[in-house]
């Protein structure tokens, strides 16, 4: 009995060592994202995903890369149940989301932050209200909103632009705002679909730095990108997708867990040869 406990404890310590230190659950939990031979065939016969199986554990920072049309966006849509797989299963935190009733889908989406290439902000709301909306949706109290929104805006560096409307912001700032909105609930999973697709390299590194910082707080970050160069320099886990199949899944050797946000950004900037972005 005692020996059993020691074993479990040591296994727990191993896991803790692999993860950011503040993720301290004792019970082994199911992977945050798991696809089991998920296939998506669109009406008309186009096969977007073909028996894709992958697992992403809590606290990971994962890139999904591949050329245009390889099924990356379809995969993201499967995760937030904008689409249903034709075959196979999509599990979020161990739960097959196909079994969720229609009225449970909003609950799923509240637990997943999403960032898109085209930002998807509410155009007639200012910066503050855009972030606040994500909290109003879940029925947060006024006090909670007043506390959390400035926190999120400070994290992304938009604390001094609360009254601006989205179209008064630069592309990088709009994406920061989208990240703030996605993260204000502190979701366990953050999905980013081509978050830097519309941005120049310097701004892109800034957004990546932000996502990395969010990852350090324990949130699993899942980034879809076609920018192989940028992704390779990040040295995170990379899943490659081509013609709807997983063609690459590299994690070993690419990790440097001890890297701080600042070091991470400095290294990536140096490797990409871009200047630090001021915001």
């Amino acid at each position: 009995m005692a020996r059993h406990q020691t074993k479990a404890l040591s296994r727990g310590r191993e896991r803790a060592a692999r993860r950011p230190e503040h993720v301290t659950e004792r019970r082994p939990r199911p992977p945050i994202v798991e696809l089991r031979r998920a296939t998506k065939i669109y009406p008309g016969g186009h096969v977007a995903l073909e028996r894709v199986s992958l697992r992403v554990d809590r606290g990971e920072f994962v890139f999904l890369v591949g050329p245009t049309g390889c099924g990356k966006s379809t995969l993201i849509k499967l995760l937030i149940r904008e689409l249903q797989p034709t075959e196979g299963e999509v599990l979020i935190a161990g739960r097959d989301i196909a079994t969720l009733g229609r009225d449970r889908i909003p609950q799923l989406r509240r637990r997943i932050g999403t960032v898109f290439q085209d930002f998807k902000l509410l155009p007639d709301r200012n910066v503050y209200d855009n972030v606040a909306y994500a909290l109003q949706v879940i029925g947060a109290s006024r006090g909670e909103i007043r506390k959390k929104v400035p926190d999120a805006l400070r994290l992304v560096g938009l604390a001094d632009k609360t009254k601006s409307l989205p179209d008064q912001l630069s592309g990088g700032e709009q994406q920061r705002l989208a990240v703030a909105r996605a993260f204000v609930n502190h979701p366990p999973l953050l999905l980013a679909d081509e978050p830097t697709g519309n941005l120049d390299p310097a701004t892109s590194v800034g957004i990546m730095q932000l996502l990395y910082r969010i990852n350090r707080t324990g949130t699993t970050v899942f980034v879809v990108s076609h920018d192989r160069e940028l992704v390779n320099k990040m040295r995170r886990r990379v899943i490659g997708l081509d013609h709807g199949r997983v063609v690459r899944d590299q994690s070993a050797g690419m990790y440097t867990d001890e890297e701080s946000t600042r070091e991470f950004a400095a290294r990536v900037r140096a490797e990409l040869g871009v200047e630090e972005e001021r915001y």
């Binding site: 937030i80 904008e82 009225d103 889908i105 909003p106 609950q107 799923l108 989406r109 509240r110 637990r111 999403t114 998807k120 902000l121 509410l122 155009p123 007639d124 909306y133 994500a134 109003q136 949706v137 879940i138 029925g139 006024r142 909105r181």
Partner: protein, 305 residues
């Protein structure tokens, strides 16, 4: 409770932001409600007239001048005993004359009765029989004049000179007003359908302009009702404003056109029609319900994911 205020605030904010489509919706609602506000009393007035005419339809049994009071009373009892007879009224010669004078006067004609020699009254006394239903008139008529031995109708009492009915005339009036009523109802129905589609379309356009917004709301995990309520509030407010505009226009029309006319023309005095306050309340309710439901239903298409 805080939620209710939130939804109202969101609805009003959306109204401010999309002023042009909202104005279009308000105008459409107002036009529809004005049409409805005009047609409802008109239809009621025509059906009211028809009822009036139906009420006037009766059977007249004219009596010989030499009928004794006993014979008359006996006949009245007999008539009252007939099936389908609702009411029997005895009109004596003097009353018949008075009615004739009234009619002439009402038509602004010369009082011809004054020219009758020596106050002689040629009008017969009569029984005015009201049937329980207009359609039973022939059976009462047949009961009063059963076919005799030679097959021709014979009166049941010797004092009966003639049985006359105002049915023919009444039939024509009923037919005309009936046709008018149906015609107006159909027109009203078509107008209403057209206006409803127009309101629905206007709302759809304003929602279509914001479908991306709806998409974003869904992405951050807003439930369908959370997205829908502000739209419903917006619809209610649009309907309320449109309804108020319509009521104002109707009120102006009533004050300036209908009421002065009603003093001169008998047809315009719509005694059986709905009271203005009641009409106002009904129109406002209808306007709000239609546009609220319109918004809510139209949104369904965009909420389906």
């Amino acid at each position: 409770m805080g939620r209710v205020f939130f939804f109202i605030g969101e609805g009003l904010r959306a109204l401010r932001r999309s002023a042009a489509p909202s104005a279009a919706a308000i105008v459409t609602v107002a036009v529809t409600m004005v049409l409805l506000g005009v047609l409802v009393p008109v239809i009621q007035a025509t059906s009211g007239k028809t009822e009036e005419v139906r009420d006037q339809v009766s059977l007249n049994v004219y009596l010989y001048d030499d009928a004794t009071p006993e014979e008359t009373t006996e006949l009245e009892t007999t008539i009252q005993g007939l099936p389908h007879v609702a009411e029997v009224e005895y009109v004596d010669k003097d009353e018949a004359m008075a009615i004739l004078r009234d009619r002439l006067e009402a038509k602004d004609q010369e009082d011809l009765t004054a020219q009758l020699p020596g106050g002689h009254n040629p009008l017969p006394a009569s029984f005015n029989i009201k049937p329980d239903d207009l359609d039973n008139l022939p059976s009462i008529s047949a009961a009063l004049m059963p076919p005799g031995a030679d097959g021709t109708p014979q009166p049941i009492s010797p004092v009966i000179e003639e049985v006359g009915e105002s049915r023919e005339e009444a039939n024509t009036i009923t037919k005309v007003t009936g046709a008018l009523k149906w015609g107006l109802t159909i027109v009203a129905g078509l107008l209403l359908v057209a206006s409803l589609l127009l309101v629905g379309n206007t709302i759809r356009l304003s929602i279509y302009a914001r479908r991306r917004e709806v998409e974003v709301m869904q992405l951050v995990g807003a439930t369908n009702w959370f997205i829908r309520w502000p739209f419903v509030v917006e619809g209610i407010v649009c309907g309320l404003i449109g309804g108020l505009v319509a009521v104002f226009i109707l009120f102006l029309g009533k004050e300036t056109v209908v009421d002065p006319l009603a003093d001169t023309f008998n047809l315009v005095t719509a005694e059986n029609t709905i009271a203005f306050t009641k009409l106002t309340v009904l129109l406002l309710l209808a306007a709000m319900t239609v546009s609220a439901i319109g918004s809510g239903l139209t949104l369904r298409r965009f909420l389906r994911v």
